[in-house]
Amino acid sequence: MSLLNVFGISESAVAAQSQRLNVVASNIANANSVSGPDGQPYRAREVVFRAVPTKAAQSPGSAQSPAKVEVAGVVESAAPPRTVYDPQNPMADAHGYVELPNVNVVDEMVNMLSASRSYQDNVEVMNTTKNLLLKTLTLGE
């Protein structure tokens, strides 16, 4: 039953988008954390998505089958940290500069909106499919 597989696909996307939202929340929350557990400033994180073909359709003839979404990993941003001149700060170096996290709050807000929209899209797909399935169950009545 193809329609039932839709739930698996959309659920994987919802899970992936929610993890992306989680990472965005962590980045925004720590936008000013000058020191983490290792004594270094917090570094912005980003999730990497990957498409995983569903098993049921993996026949040798057709390479393209409906694909679920998977979080391949969470990578740390390689952007240089922001530096601010603040000699009063206890974390300041010998020249009076403090290293702040390389979080770009504007980027994170855009990321958050995109994740939120995608999440909503997939919830809507699930709702629509649920209604279709319920109607299919009453076929002939």
């Binding site: 329609l3 996307a13 998505f49 409906p66 499919t129 279709l132 109607k135």
Partner: protein
């Protein structure tokens, strides 16, 4: 398939099956709207349904159109109107429109099938 009841319901049944499979593909496109290098997929519904209908016309033999891949139609990549930098070819607005369209068409096939069942029931009951 010589049973007249089967003959009557078969076409809409096949259409419903293909619509369901297309729904799955389109849901996967929406799910992967943010996945780098994902390519949007779809299939030619008219061609697939024609192949299914012809396939049964030859008493279950494989259709010449090449639809004999376990009942699954040949899936193809969609050509996007605008390319994106991350190699993803899903256009979310188009994908959602296709999804909504397919939903309505699925319901249409379901309604027709429902009518045919009712017609047969009234013929049986009199």
């Amino acid at each position: 398939m010589t049973n007249p009841l089967d003959n009557l319901l078969h076409f809409q049944g096949e259409a419903l099956k293909l619509r369901g499979y297309r729904q799955e593909l389109l849901a996967a496109n929406i799910a992967n709207a943010d996945t780098p290098n994902y390519k949007a997929v779809d299939f030619d519904f008219a061609k697939a349904l024609r192949a299914e209908a012809q396939g049964t016309g030859q008493s279950g033999a494989a259709a010449p159109g090449g639809a004999a891949t376990g009942g699954k139609p040949q899936v193809q990549y969609r050509i996007p109107a605008q390319a994106s930098l991350d190699g993803n070819s899903v256009e979310i607005d188009a994908a959602r429109a296709q999804f909504a369209g397919n939903t309505v068409r699925y319901e249409a096939a379901m309604n027709t099938l429902s009518m045919q069942i009712k017609m047969m029931l009234s013929a049986i009951k009199g």
